[in-house]
Symmetry: C2
Subunit: 242 residues, 2 copies
Amino acid sequence: MAEKSLYDFRVEPQDVDFTLRATIPSLGAAVLNTAGIDAHGKGFGVDALNADNHSWVLSRMALELDSRPGQYTDYTIATWISDYGRVLSTRNFTLTDAAGTEFGRAVTQWAMIDLATRSAVDLSWVGREHAEAIVDVPSPTDRPRKVREVVPTATAEHRVAYSDIDFNRHVNTMRYIEMMFDMLPLELLTGEAPVRLDIHFLHECRYGQTLSVGCELRERAALYEIRADDSTIALRASIEWK
Amino acid sequence: MAEKSLYDFRVEPQDVDFTLRATIPSLGAAVLNTAGIDAHGKGFGVDALNADNHSWVLSRMALELDSRPGQYTDYTIATWISDYGRVLSTRNFTLTDAAGTEFGRAVTQWAMIDLATRSAVDLSWVGREHAEAIVDVPSPTDRPRKVREVVPTATAEHRVAYSDIDFNRHVNTMRYIEMMFDMLPLELLTGEAPVRLDIHFLHECRYGQTLSVGCELRERAALYEIRADDSTIALRASIEWK
């Protein structure tokens, strides 16, 4: 059995908003970056999978932040894989400050796709080949919740451009989060209330597509549905403030 | 007299485009990040200046890249201040791969502003107080060039949102670069030709403003003029491929 892996980060000037605390997208980026580095270091990163024409794709993500660390603050992200199912593997994270206090956590679920067919492949072999990478510690919070129905009260359009896409030629996760956040009032974004974000990815979006970002703003929550070229649902998401 | 300061970086998965090489905006971000870290470590970072209600503002930037490093490649940024004028200080950079080969360089010029009046203050005192921070090595390439006249062949609009702004509540430099790049054909962006970028900042743009990004595309160059709320010129820039 493996141990959790620890990675050190620091809140850099480009990570903060004008409250001088790390933005939620920048902390989410650090979480996903940790996933990539850890998988790479353990030999089943995107680069290794690409050799077999496979890749990891993020399917669902839950991110909870009790508070946002200030500029130049050091923090540590611990990550561990708790299980491999047939279709999804679960990777967990905790975010801890220098004093050892946990201020955030995340649960992500990943599918492996065949790059030729873009369909999910059976993960069982990864579970067998990399069983030593599994850590017997449960997820630190509820797994990503499904968002069932969204009735947009506002809609924004976004044409997918070069700076939105990742190495897979698809819109990168942090851009989706930024599109969602950009539709919210500044008071909510810069407040200090604990927040939970759930994202459920349904279809990948590509360069040149026009996205329609529908937002249903409630009192302490926002639900989202992003559609590509006005038909296919790309993702559903929710943000909840305590 | 001081020595150049060295900072180590690695090209992470979120830094690359689908050619699996670092994007120009991600390398530019590393350069500006280095400026912030180095100034912070030497005691004249934005955080220290804020105590006196002052801040650094990037006035001009030239960035040259001969090639773009691949994913998971280590590289080093060296930075040094070569002089303080009355209005502008010059900070230089070289980007070097693990074998010691220089693959890029940058020259940036910074003004110090009074946060209350948002006007430039005399820098002479910084030159006196921090004379030991100056390194007697000339800039590694031509200083940022002025772009005089732009006749746009295409124009894009962008409303400044939360994810565009920095700790100063102004549009951050990398977002401007992304806006410019997003107007170019993919072949130019993902090519391997050496490139030089010059940006001249004229006015800060704020949350809620609508920017008009004018692009004059030539055969191996693109000139830009970004206007805020359709009048004030925020910046002029050029990108040239060899």
